[in-house]
């Protein structure tokens, strides 16, 4: 089949695939395998910048020892080309795909293949255990892994993929609850602090804290995860939400959890809130946290499969 025919069958706009679809799928699989491996070895620029700032602000000697180890580790991971944390997560991909992206229908299978390839090449730790069977698949793929979350953009032909690699340690504090409206945003505040000052202490702080405010547990939970995919320091467009992000961040830093919970000048890399309109009778709230080794990568792919890495500087895959 010619490229032109592909473009027609995929109803892609003028910029269709330059090559056969099978070949294009192989190219994209290879690209995503390499990018996934890369994300496991290098932190994104916003995280590096924030960690450097927190390190400079840290005054406690014991906590400075920890920051030194963290930066030493990042340098070694880069130089030796190895995953900077051994827990390379149960992979999640957050896809924002144009409805006209030429490989939209193939993308889910491509991401699974890319993950199997990255598991061998990077390598990644075997982290997919089939539930009830209770056996490690050894491939990092299994029922629902990789977890792929979709947003489809009408009329667009590009695809932006967030690769997210969270260790078990920073998934453990994740929590959601539905509050009664009488508890208000004061109740949201208390919930966030309860989670971070208990389970958060062991989750490799300084943490990036995501808060979802919505109607029910699952909508709040997905928003809380999307919140930690935002670049550090970006603010919610609503002035009250943005103000609450700043208040929570300042308040959590005053708790002084420090790196690894050993106490110190700061607790968090940031607090991000994502919200939806809610049912008048409920306030769903959820917290997701990212550890200091916040392995998040963003790549934008054009319909001709050329790409741009948005999260890291100077990447060659």
């Amino acid at each position: 089949m010619t490229t032109a025919q592909h473009a027609a069958t995929a109803k892609a706009p003028a910029r269709g695939l330059p090559i056969e679809k099978d070949e294009a799928a192989r190219v994209l699989t290879d690209l995503m395998a390499k990018f996934t491996g890369y994300v496991g070895k290098h932190l994104p620029q916003d995280v590096l910048d924030k960690l450097a700032e927190l390190r400079a602000r840290e005054t406690q000697p014991l906590s400075r020892v920890v920051y030194d180890a963290m930066f030493d580790n990042l340098e070694k991971a880069d130089r030796l080309d190895r995953p900077c944390c051994q827990d390379t997560g149960a992979l999640q991909f957050f896809v924002t795909a144009g409805a006209c992206f030429p490989l939209l229908g193939e993308l889910k299978a491509i991401l699974g293949d890319a993950l199997r390839q990255a598991t061998k090449e990077a390598p990644l730790r075997h982290n997919a255990v089939e539930t009830f069977v209770e056996q490690n698949t050894g491939t990092n793929t299994g029922t629902g892994i990789p977890w792929v979350d979709w947003e489809i953009v009408p009329g667009d032909d590009t695809c932006t993929i967030e690769v997210y690699m969270a260790g078990g340690g920073c998934s453990l504090p994740g929590a959601a609850r539905v509050l009664m409206p009488a508890e208000g945003y004061e109740g949201v505040t208390r919930f966030v602090f309860d989670v971070i000052t208990s389970y958060g202490v062991n989750a490799c702080p300084p943490l990036l804290v995501g808060v979802g405010v919505s109607t029910s547990v699952e909508t709040a939970a997905i928003l809380s995860k999307r919140a930690i995919l935002r670049p550090i320091g970006t603010r919610h467009p609503d002035p009250r939400a943005a103000r609450m992000e700043v208040l929570l961040e300042k308040g959590l830093n005053e708790v002084g959890i420090g790196p690894q919970g050993l106490s110190g000048t700061c607790s968090v890399m940031g607090v991000h809130i994502e919200a939806s309109a809610r049912h008048p009778s409920t306030i769903g709230v959820a917290v997701s946290v990212g550890c200091w080794s916040h392995r998040r990568g963003t790549i934008r792919i054009q319909p001709d499969l050329s790409y741009e890495v948005l999260s890291h500087k100077g990447v060659r895959l």
Binding site: V66, N127, Q260
Partner: protein, 201 residues
């Protein structure tokens, strides 16, 4: 000057250490986490490696096959608190002297450390390549049927650390001390913020 503990570690080698001290470990370090603990304590299966005087690491590594053997690629600590329900008995049954992990452990482990003259130490979490470069060799692997993260990887390490003593042999618990401080500060911060987020009026 670096304080280096060498396995086998005797009770008197670590008696003077106190929470917040920084030490390094040379000798035998065995990865052992959730299922390793569960098999010994709940299922009564004997560990296939002697831990007396040695150290365990709450960790699930990435390893690579290297000829007939194995090479450590990336190995950082995992959340120690998951082993809290087993650790006191684990110390008593194995005679392990140094437990390395991440985050704090609870009062049961602290009691186990006091009774068994053992330490819990924190290796900075997420520093897995730093740790891997301090592993001289993987001497053998046991219980590989559990998969890569849960298997017991018997490692020879050299100046493995920094290890921050979080529970000492007297049962002092650094994370318990910190928690009381965090809780007091939390109450103040929540009260202050609550006054500023009364958006439902």
């Amino acid at each position: 000057m670096k304080r280096i503990l060498t396995t086998p570690v005797a009770s008197e080698d670590i008696a003077d250490l106190t929470v917040g001290d920084v030490v390094y470990l040379t000798g035998t370090l065995v990865t052992c986490r959730d299922v390793g603990h569960r098999r010994l304590i709940e299922l009564g299966q004997a560990l296939p490696v002697s831990l007396r005087g040695n150290a365990i690491f709450h960790a699930g590594p990435i390893v690579a096959q290297d000829g007939d053997g194995w090479r450590m690629v990336s190995v950082g600590p995992t959340t120690s608190m998951r082993m809290e329900r087993f650790e006191r008995q684990f110390i008593a049954e194995t005679g392990v002297k140094v437990i390395v992990g991440k985050g704090g452990m609870g009062s049961e482990t602290a009691a186990g450390c006091r009774e068994g003259h053992a330490l819990h130490c924190v290796f900075p979490g997420g520093c897995a390549v730093l740790a891997a470069t301090q592993v001289e060799a993987i001497e053998r692997v046991e219980w590989l049927d559990l998969g890569m993260p849960e298997a017991l990887w018997v490692c020879r390490v050299r100046e493995f650390g920094p290890l921050i003593v979080s529970i000492d042999t007297k049962g002092n618990n650094l994370f318990e001390i910190n928690q009381a401080m965090f809780d007091a500060r939390k109450a103040r911060a929540v009260a202050a913020i609550s006054g500023e987020v009364r958006f439902i009026t």
